[in-house]
């Protein structure tokens, strides 16, 4: 079950973050900062945070083991406090018919294009839970929240994925570019970013467009490429309609995936229903569904089966208990696997949101 984070999750969160290693920028191994993120998240859930500070942090809990095993988050709007930088990978053509020259050079333009976008971030699942549907549940749970409370989010949704680095945390892109401008290791720059100093670091980076052909071959090869360990996360997002549109991280050149909120498949095809009955649902009668309650401050998402009729939805009692809902409450539903989602509207009333 994935749920909104609580103040008393801090200790468990610290233990979890210790496992992330370099590269998960938004989860620095720093207790003060994590506490700050929890507080910011609580304020957001309570509706008291300012737009620029809104962030919703969720944790995945193994209910049986009473263990916190994953985390994910959404930032309401990036770049409203400090500039949000990314490189736009553009093309510059040098051509002369007379000389028979036509050179197409990928060129990196420092941009603030994503300012104001909502960002999916901080996804981390404990290694021993990277089995079955856990990863998909954790990643996609956020779409249930965004569907339920869509007015809290920007139309543009982005997700920055970790770029390529080796086991020692060396990023070929950083080695070829950032290091020249900022004599520090990628891990250090990444940490500074995580503790909210990314714009300081960015201000030390080259402001003028960069011809990528001036970078090392290794660096050129990783522009827009995802770290091996992050590829499953990328696939999950791509299944939902996210695309790489040519924006990359300024430090490791990892891709920023983008989608409009209303085009995210899980959001588009989810429907809001009222719980009609609680009874065991036969495996064959339903696809595995993402099911969420409709409460902002105690938001919960789980996986389960259900039967939808024109009168409402029938849920497993276990699921209802996990989501803390009962007959008469609103829930939101969508099949976990995009292939099993019916075309929009087929399930009858899509219902009004939230």
């Amino acid at each position: 079950m994935v749920r909104s984070i609580r103040r008393d999750d801090l200790a468990a969160l610290m233990a979890l973050v210790g496992e992330t290693g370099v590269g998960l920028t938004t989860l620095p191994n720093n207790e003060g900062l994590l506490r700050g993120r929890i507080e910011a998240s609580l304020a957001s859930f309570a509706g008291t945070a300012e737009k620029a500070d809104e962030q919703w942090v969720f944790v995945m809990e193994d209910i049986a083991a009473a263990r916190l095993v994953g985390i994910c988050a959404i930032a309401g709007a990036v770049g409203l406090r400090e500039p949000w930088y990314s490189y736009r990978v553009g093309t510059v053509v040098h051509a002369s018919r007379e000389l028979g020259i036509f050179t197409r050079t990928p060129t990196l333009f420092l941009s603030n294009d994503h300012t104001g976008a909502s960002e999916l971030c901080s996804l981390f699942l404990a290694p021993d839970y990277r089995v079955g549907r856990n990863g998909a549940l954790l990643s996609k749970s956020r779409f249930m929240f965004m569907a339920e409370f869509s007015d809290r989010f920007s139309r543009k949704v982005i997700a920055e994925l970790r770029g390529v680095s080796d086991s020692a945390g060396r990023s070929p892109f950083w080695e070829s570019l950032g290091r020249h401008f900022f004599s520090m290791d990628f891990a250090e720059a990444d940490y500074l970013t995580g503790i909210g100093k990314k714009s300081f670091v960015a201000e030390l980076m080259p402001k003028h467009p960069l011809y990528s052909s001036f970078l090392s071959k290794e660096a050129q090869a990783v522009i827009g490429e995802t770290h091996e360990l992050t590829r499953p996360a990328r696939r999950l997002l791509e299944q939902e309609g996210f695309r790489y549109e040519g924006h990359v991280d300024i430090f490791d050149a990892g891709p920023a995936l983008e989608s409009n909120l209303e085009d995210i498949d899980a959001i588009k095809k989810s429907s809001s229903q009222v719980v009609q009955a609680l009874s065991v649902v036969a495996e064959a009668s339903s696809a595995v569904m993402l099911i969420s309650n409709a409460r902002m401050s105690d938001f919960r998402v789980g996986l389960g089966r259900c039967i939808v009729t024109s009168d409402g939805v029938t849920l497993d009692p276990d699921v209802a208990q996990a989501l803390d809902i009962t007959v008469g409450d609103a829930v939101r539903l969508v099949a976990l696997r995009p292939a099993e989602r019916a075309a929009s509207g087929e399930r009858g009333a899509r219902g009004s949101r939230g």
Partner: protein, 363 residues
């Protein structure tokens, strides 16, 4: 005796021979008969024309051994660099990347493509027969141009620039080109140079990267080549440096060679030269030589004040003040060589700037 004068079409065979010998990098002397004919023809028009403001004129001088008619050197001036278009250079820039918060301050060297030197008058085409490299003739070849500029200020811009060849290996491969231009051209430097030596360098420049080049991203050999002079260019470069040209700001966009620039009036030759009247009253060779022995005469670059009939040479000169004002005396032979008569104005500068505080006699 050697004389510097405007090139004539009859000089073509000798100029062709020089062009064939000149190194890669002296692009303004193309080893191509038609282009050389154009160059000489344009130059003749330039010297002859009444000019109000600097334009597309290109002045081309030859250094002739008056006794034999042999041409031993060339030099030139283009009135306005990039006329009708743009003149491209890379400007050395320092970008400070600093953060108080992170207690970091990095100076980043970047090359910025610019048109700053567009409209500057450009010193070009310097070539001296190696046999005379150690003589005074390179001074005459380079600096007499400045006497022409001083006399004909309306023909030139207030600022001068000169390109100097950058480093390359024996095959003409330029490390700077290989790291920068080649990425966009897919051809060798000499090939591109040849293409650009002709009608328009701008044509090539437009294919060069328009955004600044961050120097730290370049390979070591290319970094070293920035502002680095080709050994073949040392002689003309050193003369320009002595004149007070600045070499730190601009480099050639193709080979990274230093492009020097200066305001005309700050140049040493321009500051120290004098416009005086030639006095023939006691001018003869014997007397000038006697004066030299007496320490009065100074070996000088002497130029007449004509345009089409411009002549300059090196000879001993004695300065004095007569009823008609400041005067200079030198041998009748010198006067004949630079084609002046008694009472004509000349521009004179001491060959060795240390002797510019000339003894002035009262006549």
């Amino acid at each position: 005796m050697f004389v510097l004068r405007p090139a004539e079409l009859t000089d073509l065979p000798q100029i062709e021979a020089i062009a064939a010998k000149s190194a890669i990098g002296i692009t303004s002397l193309p080893p191509d008969r038609d282009r050389l004919i154009d160059k000489i023809t344009n130059s003749r028009y330039a010297f002859a024309d009444e000019v109000d403001i600097p334009g597309e004129e290109s002045y081309f001088f030859v250094l002739e051994n008056a006794a034999t008619g042999e041409i031993v050197g060339t030099s030139g001036i283009a009135a306005a660099a990039g006329f009708h278009d743009r003149f491209y250079s890379y400007r050395n820039e320092i970008i400070v990347h600093a953060s108080q918060e992170l207690k970091v301050s990095n100076k980043i060297h970047a090359l910025h493509l610019c048109h700053d030197l567009t409209g500057f008058s450009l010193l070009t085409s310097f070539f001296i027969d190696p046999a005379f490299a150690d003589s005074d003739l390179p001074q005459l070849l380079s600096r007499a141009r400045l006497l022409y500029v001083a006399e004909q200020r309306h023909r030139f811009a207030d600022k001068l620039a000169a390109e100097n060849p950058g480093v390359c290996d024996a095959e003409g491969r330029s490390p700077f080109w290989n790291a920068v231009g080649r990425r966009f051209f897919n051809m060798d430097y000499p090939q591109a140079e040849q293409l650009s030596g002709g009608r328009s360098k701008t044509f090539i420049a437009e294919l060069m990267p328009q955004y600044p080049i961050y120097v730290p991203l370049l390979p070591a050999a290319a970094k070293l080549a920035i502002g680095q002079l080709h050994p073949d260019g040392e002689l003309p470069f050193s003369i320009l440096m002595d004149e007070g040209f600045e070499a730190d700001t601009y480099v050639d966009i193709f080979d990274g060679g230093p492009t020097v620039e200066a305001r005309v009036e700050t140049l040493r030759t321009v500051r120290l030269q004098r416009r005086v009247t030639f006095s023939a009253r006691i001018a003869d060779l014997t007397e000038a030589i006697e004066a030299a022995e007496a320490g009065e005469a100074v070996l000088s670059i002497i130029a007449n004040t004509k345009s089409e009939g411009f002549r300059a040479t090196i000879a001993p000169a004695v300065f004095g003040v007569a009823a008609e004002g400041s005067c200079v005396k030198f041998s009748r032979e010198t006067a004949l060589l630079i084609n002046i008569d008694d009472g004509d104005a000349v521009r004179v500068v001491a060959l060795d700037p240390e002797s510019h505080h000339l003894t002035v006699a009262s006549w």
